[in-house]
Symmetry: C2
Subunit: 575 residues, 2 copies
Amino acid sequence: MSEPPVDPAQASGAAPPAEGEAGPSKKGAKKAEAKAKKEAEKARKAAEREAAAAAQKAASGGNEDLAKDNYGEITPTTKVDAEKVQLKKLGEEHVGKTVKLRAWIQNARMQGAKMAFVELREERNWSIQGVMAASPEGKPVSKQMVKWVGALRLESFVLVEAKVQKPLEPVKSCRVSEYELHLTKVYLVAAGPEVLGLSLNASNRAVASFEDEDPSQAAAPTEGVETLTLTDGAAAPSASLSTHLNNPVMHKRAPVQQAIADVRMTTRKLFSQYLEEREFVQFEPPCLIGAASEGGANVFAMPYFDKKAYLAQSPQFYKQFEIAGGRKRVYCIGPVFRAENSNTPRHMTEFTGLDMEMEIEEHYHEVRDMIEGLMIYIFRGLQEKCKEQIEIIKAIYPSDDFLLPEPGKEVRLTFAEGQKLLREEGPEEYRNVSDDEDMSTPQEKALGALIRKKFNTDFYVLDKFPEGARPFYTIEDPENPKVTNAYDFFMRGQEILSGGQRIHIPELLEARIRKKGIDPASEGIKDYVDVFRSAGVPPHGGGGIGLDRVVAWFLNLPSVHLTSYYPRTPKRLLP
Amino acid sequence: MSEPPVDPAQASGAAPPAEGEAGPSKKGAKKAEAKAKKEAEKARKAAEREAAAAAQKAASGGNEDLAKDNYGEITPTTKVDAEKVQLKKLGEEHVGKTVKLRAWIQNARMQGAKMAFVELREERNWSIQGVMAASPEGKPVSKQMVKWVGALRLESFVLVEAKVQKPLEPVKSCRVSEYELHLTKVYLVAAGPEVLGLSLNASNRAVASFEDEDPSQAAAPTEGVETLTLTDGAAAPSASLSTHLNNPVMHKRAPVQQAIADVRMTTRKLFSQYLEEREFVQFEPPCLIGAASEGGANVFAMPYFDKKAYLAQSPQFYKQFEIAGGRKRVYCIGPVFRAENSNTPRHMTEFTGLDMEMEIEEHYHEVRDMIEGLMIYIFRGLQEKCKEQIEIIKAIYPSDDFLLPEPGKEVRLTFAEGQKLLREEGPEEYRNVSDDEDMSTPQEKALGALIRKKFNTDFYVLDKFPEGARPFYTIEDPENPKVTNAYDFFMRGQEILSGGQRIHIPELLEARIRKKGIDPASEGIKDYVDVFRSAGVPPHGGGGIGLDRVVAWFLNLPSVHLTSYYPRTPKRLLP
């Protein structure tokens, strides 16, 4: 068994926690809630039985159900001929018309014996209220039909026919508040479960705890989390990240997660767009590699026929091979892997890298400025194209707007200038930071706060990193070999991109490899150096961005695990 | 050492085969050639020494080199102020003007003691002739300078300043034939090697042999390969695939490889474009998975902290999770892995999957038709956008045009109709093929030939595959459970896409899993089925395309290894 430890009851669905709970809570409260839920469930089942009995009775002719063809499980012959409509496109022109749509049951309840209210949800958070009242003459809507609809399980998928009407007053609980649907046909396409492992209410709330993937070790929900609800139902407690990820379907159905996914994919698109407009061409680096080329620490290894293979930690060498192979500008987007046993909100073992590399014509600042322009294009593009999504996310995960520099006022400090700022204006403990040593994460954050205050931006670059802080392929500043032609980019005081100019002359490359204490003849290294011997390679530089971090820090989310479709950590490989 | 067997001399660069050779040849011929090359090399070195001596003599004042600032190795202070120009944009307006550009030396030779000719190449196959003649007054061009330029090594990268002129007659050996450059400054940015491991001439020819990655086992070059050359030099023999891949820089510099890469990336783009226009959203499935979910055969496994991880063989389950998670239409593009010990021109252990999945509203033919439209859009798009690239490729790898059906005349046969065609009109050995058994590869090819003859198309779909030929998640035809709602798409008689409708009702899914003899409680399977229990999931279907094969079969290339940036096979993990 190779899975991370998971509550077996929950994973199996045999006796899952009831909707809206599922997350960690203290034992006593849990018991009481469980009991309450059990009873609620009992009542729900009784109602279902009653509805079924009524339907049967109707079918048997004791009290003929004149609406029996207008509801029930869908069959291959079921046909609804009305105009198809999407909720996001519903308008005045539809009022009074009969339409059809398919949606999830987000809520269903009876009012008296003759009326049912349901909430129907399409993709993202497009929802609308559906109303059903039994017709006095027993059709098109019978009492049996109303009961059946009122008892539909949450998150069932249905096909409905309905007349669009204006409600007496706006329906606050639904995104489509100006219209409602008077249901005339309801067919069950796929039933929801008896009890949801994670309710949409809980799923669309801030995740309560992240500290561990093992639910038995998870702490109680964070105090003060938002209690916004999607429906008019009672506020439900929020759930831990484990509960979310162990219930992927409900996790993904939450509008907040769909909004995050939209921001993520828009980031990818903006990255490609900016570069393609500047004559970059995409290429595909391999994941499987024959040597642990970039140092060998934190690399996944596996048997590969009669050999050993490794998973690429970055496309660094391959970007360079493309430049050597005659492409002037390249980029790639794909998975990279780190076998690092870090269980923090910043780490994953598999994540998406956005990488670029380009020829340098005269100065490596051509690359630095290209990346700066690229990132600002992405940030402004997100603010414009994902306005709605950012609002949805902010309602759940409140954050300050991401501050961007005015055009022409981009903040570019040298590493030494950054350290000076920390020494002179930073917290006490940074009075003696050195220009020759790399920064720690808390140091970076402190500098980020200083820069925000001083320059009113959450985005900036530190250039000219010290020689010791950069890998063997980074070129030294020809005027000052204590520093390199290399930079990091930061968002809210956290590094999101590392890059610089690479060494393109094989003799210089070999010399720096030796200086770093590495044997130029060692596995992986030799083949790399030989590439630069095999033909003249133009000067070049680039950078690599972690997509997950860009999305997480832009939105100020508490963890990169919320930005990934299927986060992979030392403890999690499923779903 | 985990690398595939490689000729050590060649890999190390210590004594690589001379340019244009490198490939396999009989022993005697090899020896003679090696000797000839040695001598040519000796002569070249002597010329270099002479040039260096002349330069030194000039510098020492014995015969002052008045042009000494106009050539030599580039330094941080080198500056050329002329207008930058790209060869592909060179036009009449440049004639008589002084321009600068950076390019590779594709050829360099002296004519007498006072003139040098070089061929300069930019990205793809944009090349131009450069001419240099010593000025009578010794500047701007000295005799020493001409000698130095004439002795420049092949594939060196240089920065030049030149006046654009019309040549006396078109320069046939260069793509830019209507202009030539009268060089006034030449600086060496990065030197080429003494001897190239693979010449551009050889690299831009049809690969001679594919049968094995081990060069010692490779056969003699195929007879009748094209002998087109890029320059006016002598025709060089073509090289084996191993020689190509062991010399990645020169392999990639060949215009034919850059054209194939363009076709590949255009295919990716057309795939995304078509789907995005139809409201598909992209997502990212994981590569690392916790269970060998799709059967377990041919899956790479690796230690993962205290667990075991596998590399995904397809994003199948994850596409379905996205649909279950509330997305109506999704697609993804990324690496997939097969641990199959197959050393054929059709197989790789890592390749790029183009995958899509969508909700079905009424009938699974919505999906089949979506994919059909998608593929035709891609093919027509390639024919339009990659006209030039296709020409370049056809000159090296001749092929018949890829035949597409007329709009409205798409060829959709059922599997049974395909088998009937084979039985009635196919070769003798297929007189008895059955409707219940999957086709073999030769059978598919025979059917492809029949369909081409009968319907004048290289692209078609076979629908309604027999039950036994489809995996457990494929839905059976409700009207005839002997077949499934599933299809394959073909190009030139070779399968490039498999797809169909999936089972979205957990009870049906479990029943079919049992019918297939799989335990529904087994690792990976249980979690998959539980997803459909966790909330109502709409009916859905999709398909997965192998990018490498689409490109290879569209261009009728002899191997998918030519379409991949860094092909991975059981024998090759490098570069």
